[in-house]
């Protein structure tokens, strides 16, 4: 809906958001009008992460997730296909599934018994079936009562869905990012450990998203306790490596080491080799950390390897910044591991994940502090006459490497905000409804 207020907001955005100049106005982090536009034009149109295939292992398995603020069911049907439905009965809009996950053979609304099979087909009002003919002598139009279904696809086990029926395919949407995403989730058969952690953070959703996308520089300050406690020598874990702007609003940083041996378990090498191209495996061998964001709000991380009990380990995670208002996110944090990994890697990797990231993680704690305080300041920037412009120009004159095995614009050293500028360009084009050429 375009109201007078949103028209004014659109003009303000058009006049003040200048990603290519490295200038972003502060009010966009939390403006309620901007948020309304985001729900409609970002979350209502792009591909969104809704789960990992290992979370719906067999026919009937389902998850309750969100796309924007809309509750959806991610279900594996009797035909083994994964589908995503609006979690809303076609009769009165009641939620069909009210638990986090489970296994069912059909969806039965607890209000009037309207029931749907695993492909979303309306089957009847099962419990009340004896009365259905009396209540609806003219019959019920089964086609019209089919569940509202999102377009669904997956990449390397990550399930995505979109309400856009005619936009880019998932492959087109991920673009150059796929090559790097495969290092993370496509290098072997991965599985989610248990269920995601969830908590609520008083911060706008873009702040954590852009942090994972294009902010390697904060680690030297925000996480400087590592150096204080003598656990690292300096900020090299934030600097050494590559900043990647794959396009499409996605972004990542690849931290590399200079040791001979890969930091990943030797036992998994054959599986990695079977899943990756030689150039991808070559880069994986040098990875000591990897962080990034799939536009708009799915972050990923292989935390910097550390030595635990005499072994080098890392515990990877996926992180969804689920918006629940202009200045609030529900954080979803998944821990993933190679299904065929040795026990020590699984056990120590999980411990490492919990202690560094996740709700009690020593890194995560300090990040939440920043995002909350930025959010409060952004709320006060809304009504200021003179715009508060923020600085997004790190690496603005940097030239991408001409030779690198992976695609996209790749910069030597992680200190660049190039992908952050593309994040805001992609976001702005969607908000202003300027769809880029495909």
């Amino acid at each position: 809906m375009t109201t007078m207020a949103s028209l004014k907001t659109v003009e303000r955005l058009r006049a003040t958001v200048e990603p290519e100049q490295g200038r972003i106005p502060m009010f966009i982090y939390t403006d309620p009008e901007v948020y309304e536009l985001e729900l409609e034009r970002v979350f209502g149109r792009t591909w969104l992460f809704v789960g990992h295939e290992s979370e719906v292992p067999e026919p009937g398995s389902f998850l309750v997730r969100d796309m924007g603020e809309e509750s959806v069911i991610v279900g594996r049907g009797e035909d083994n296909q994964v589908r995503v439905f609006l979690n809303s009965c076609r009769h009165r809009g009641m939620r069909l599934a009210c638990e986090d996950f489970g296994k069912v053979s059909m969806w039965r609304c607890p209000y009037h018994g309207f029931t749907y099979d695993s492909a979303g087909e309306f089957m009847g009002t099962l419990i009340a079936a004896p009365y259905e003919r009396a209540a609806y002598p003219e019959g019920l139009d089964r086609k019209a009562l089919h569940l509202i279904e999102a377009r669904t696809d997956s990449h390397a086990g990550l399930i995505f869905a979109t309400w856009s029926q005619d936009g880019p395919t998932l492959d087109q949407f991920l673009g150059n990012l796929s090559w790097y995403l495969d290092l993370l989730v496509g290098r072997a058969e991965m599985e989610v450990v248990g269920a995601p952690q969830k908590w609520v953070l008083p911060a706008g959703w873009k702040l954590p998203s852009e942090n994972f996308c294009a902010d390697a520089y904060h680690t030297a300050t925000a996480h400087s306790f590592l150096a204080r406690l003598g656990m690292v020598k300096g900020v090299d874990f934030g600097r050494d490596g590559y900043h990647v702007d794959p396009g499409g609003g996605h972004g990542l940083g690849v931290g590399v080491h200079f040791d001979e041996e890969s930091y990943f378990p030797a036992d998994l090498r054959d599986e990695y080799r079977a899943h990756l191209e030689p150039e991808q495996l070559g880069l994986l061998d040098r990875v000591k950390n990897l962080h990034g964001n799939v536009f708009p709000n799915l972050s990923f991380l292989i935390p910097n390897f550390i030595v635990v009990d005499g072994r080098r380990v890392s515990g990877m995670m996926l992180r969804l910044w689920q918006p629940i208002g202009p200045d609030k996110v529900q954080v979803w944090s998944w821990h993933l591991v190679e299904r065929n990994a040795p026990e020590w890697w699984k056990r120590l990797g999980q411990k490492m994940y919990v202690q560094t990231f996740g709700m009690s993680g020593m890194f995560d704690q300090d990040d939440t502090e920043n995002w909350e305080a930025q959010t409060r300041n952004s709320n006060t920037a809304l009504w200021r006459q003179d715009e508060i412009m923020l600085h997004y120009a790190m690496g603005i004159s940097g030239e991408p490497l001409t030779e690198f095995p992976g695609p996209g614009d790749v910069y030597d050293g992680k200190f660049s905000e190039a992908a952050g500028r593309t994040f805001y360009r992609t976001w702005l084009d969607l908000i202003l409804d300027q769809r880029p050429e495909q």
Partner: protein, 171 residues
């Protein structure tokens, strides 16, 4: 079952005093002294809670919010003592209410199985906001050289989506 029945009122009082004194240490941020309450082999964990239909269990033991031993608890305490532990500097103001203490014998002669309810009030900053975190703790207390120590603690939170921004605080 009446909690004090199986173990005697004196032991119950001793456990009660121990848990209340522990809460006082945490509320006053005397973390180094708090660490002395644990055995060398302590396991300190908190499973993830989920929303499920009856009668499915709502605790997911494979995924943890805390997964600590004495070394990692010590590291957390050392971190809090630096001048760059931003999440808790300035610190949260906290008050832990420990109630419903239940004490039962453990298989080992020198141990007790103790359950308690904890309500944590946490406020931080200047706008009058506060968070409340509630849960049940299952402890194994061990008597070592006359003194009680925590050999195992498992915290089961009463929210499937926690309403505080991080777990930079101990329970």
């Amino acid at each position: 079952m009446i909690a004090a029945g199986a173990i005697g009122i004196e032991t119950w009082l001793e456990v009660h005093h121990f848990l209340v004194a522990e809460a006082e240490l945490l509320d006053n941020r005397r973390f180094e002294e708090w660490l002395e309450l644990f055995t060398e082999d302590v396991e300190y964990t908190a499973p993830v809670r989920v929303t499920k239909k009856n009668p499915a269990p709502d605790v997911v033991a494979q995924n943890l919010l805390f997964d600590e031993n004495l070394a990692s608890l010590t590291l957390r305490v050392k971190r809090l003592a630096t001048d760059v532990a931003w999440a808790e500097d300035p610190p949260s103001l906290t008050r832990r209410l420990i109630t419903n203490i239940r004490v039962n014998p453990a298989p080992a002669d020198d141990e007790f199985l103790v359950k308690s309810n904890v309500l944590l009030f946490r406020s931080r900053g200047d706008v009058g906001r506060h968070d409340i975190v509630c849960g049940e703790r299952e402890d194994t207390l061990r008597r070592l050289e006359g003194a009680l120590k925590i050999a195992r603690r498992r915290i089961v939170f009463d929210q499937a989506s926690l309403g505080t921004k991080n777990l930079a605080v101990f329970l």
